[in-house]
């Protein structure tokens, strides 16, 4: 069922409006130090007809061992809930989170993948086209940190080199003491640097750093895609944002599904 209507979206909630560039978690492992948007991006955003139909959507893929809290992290951010009971994700799930960044509507399509080995070949079909890869580990289980390299490798294999922002996230911060957290963070920061990733420690249970983290993800992804868009449309003078959110969403979803078809032979 193709949707041809002009999709009118409600305004985003206040806490999804990002006007200042969100700060990093630790300067020892961060993707960039700037505290403001790129000048080109800022001026492009000012020209933009604010409040118009959705502009851009970026694909986020969340990977990591089972039971590290990928789904909990996403649910805390997207639904502001925390379920104490563990329920393994079947294959993949997704959420779409809308933002308004520098006055421009922007969405993250967040793919939550199953950590269980048996679903790996289903979930891996959704890795392609990830603008952001979030590798998650459990701060209370150091082994899960060791496995992040493999998860990242698998995710990047499906993507153009250098096309994705990489984040390394330690979850369950509430479960470890400050001292233990700091010790683990030393290892994690080393890992992050090797992976060329930005590091964050969060707690889905208390919500600590969750919103800050995703705001950072959204801002970085937004800026990057804006710059790419500007580069592409340079000379054509095409106005950014002349698009249809639903079509973008749908084509994006369909792309993932097509990818799956392509990857059938992988299992």
């Amino acid at each position: 069922m193709k949707t041809t209507l002009l999709h009118v979206v409600p305004p985003v909630s206040r806490d999804r409006i990002i006007s200042h560039f969100p700060k990093w978690y630790t300067p020892e492992a961060c993707l960039q130090f700037k505290d403001h948007f790129h000048a080109q991006v800022r001026s492009a955003c000012q020209r933009q007809n604010i409040g118009a139909v959705g502009l851009k959507i970026s694909k986020v893929v969340v990977v990591g061992d089972l039971y590290v809290g990928k789904t909990s992290l996403i649910n805390r951010f997207c639904k502001d809930v925390f379920d104490r009971d563990y329920k393994a994700t079947i294959g993949v799930d997704f959420e779409i989170e809308r933002f308004e960044i520098a006055g421009v509507p922007y969405s993250l399509q967040i793919w939550d993948t199953a950590g269980q080995e048996k679903f790996k070949c289903i979930a891996s079909a959704y890795y392609r086209g990830a603008e952001i890869v979030i590798t998650v580990f459990d701060l209370a289980d150091i082994q899960t940190l060791d496995h992040t390299k493999q998860w990242l490798e698998d995710a990047l294999r499906e993507n153009e080199p250098g096309s994705s922002f990489i984040f390394l996230v330690g979850t369950k911060k509430d479960l470890v003491s400050t001292a233990a957290c700091e010790r683990t963070e030393l290892d994690a920061i080393r890992f992050a640097n090797e992976m060329q990733a930005e590091y964050w420690s969060v707690s889905a249970k208390t919500g600590e750093n969750v919103k800050e983290f995703f705001s950072r993800v959204a801002a970085l992804a937004f800026e990057k895609s804006m710059l790419m868009e500007l580069e592409k449309s340079n000379g054509r003078m095409t106005q950014i944002g002349a698009g249809n959110l639903i079509n973008i969403e749908r084509s994006s979803l369909e792309a993932s599904e097509t990818n799956q078809q392509d990857n059938l032979s992988c299992c």
Partner: protein, 258 residues
Amino acid sequence: MVQLRLAAWAEVQTPAGEGLLEPLVSLSLLCFYSLGIPLLGMQAEQHQEEEEEGEEEKEGSGGGCEPEGAFRKNPFQLTVEDVYDISYVLGRELHKISSEPRGEMAAKVAHLQFKVVSVLEMLEALVNESNLTVEALKMERDSLKREVEELRKQGSHSAAEEVSLGPNKMVVDLTDANRPRFTLQELREVLQERNHLKAQLMVVQEELQCYKSGLMSQKQHPIEPTHKEPAVGSASGSSTGSEEKTIVKRLFAFKRPR
């Protein structure tokens, strides 16, 4: 007649290896007594003997297993009973000979009889021993046969399992309700459909939010007031004939009974 018997007897006693074994408990000897055959030198009335003999022969020919039968048997199938039969027959023959009137002859026969008895005792011991051994070996063989049979069954079972399984295979309990039964492709399709529906739901939820917040006017979308929208189908009656094709309306139209 006597000569013939002795010849047959000689054939039987030859493989026993005279002189190699010491005479043991004299069962053969007892047999001579028990059959009522007096040893040489003992007094017995000849008439009585002859009568008995006649009876024996009658019974023997009728039953087909007369004592003389033991002489014709395969030496490896001899039983202790056969040895007793042999000793009976020999005793009877010797008795006949010793009953002849010649005194010197009687003494020689008596001498021979003791030798015969000792040979028969050796034979008895050998037959006894060999029969016991044969029994034990037969039992051993049967139990080994059963063991081999069982091992063969087990072997063929495990071999069959290995053949049907091979590496990277697993056994599925068909009675288990939670057994794996859907293919990866089916799971993929279900997930795709779920993702598709979830995306549609998101769009619908956003539109609903628009209506609720009054972003879309009644003019644009002449649907019933927002609080009625969740009520299935019936609330959309007023939108009939509308040209607009929102997802919300499509969904509502879909549910309306035709």
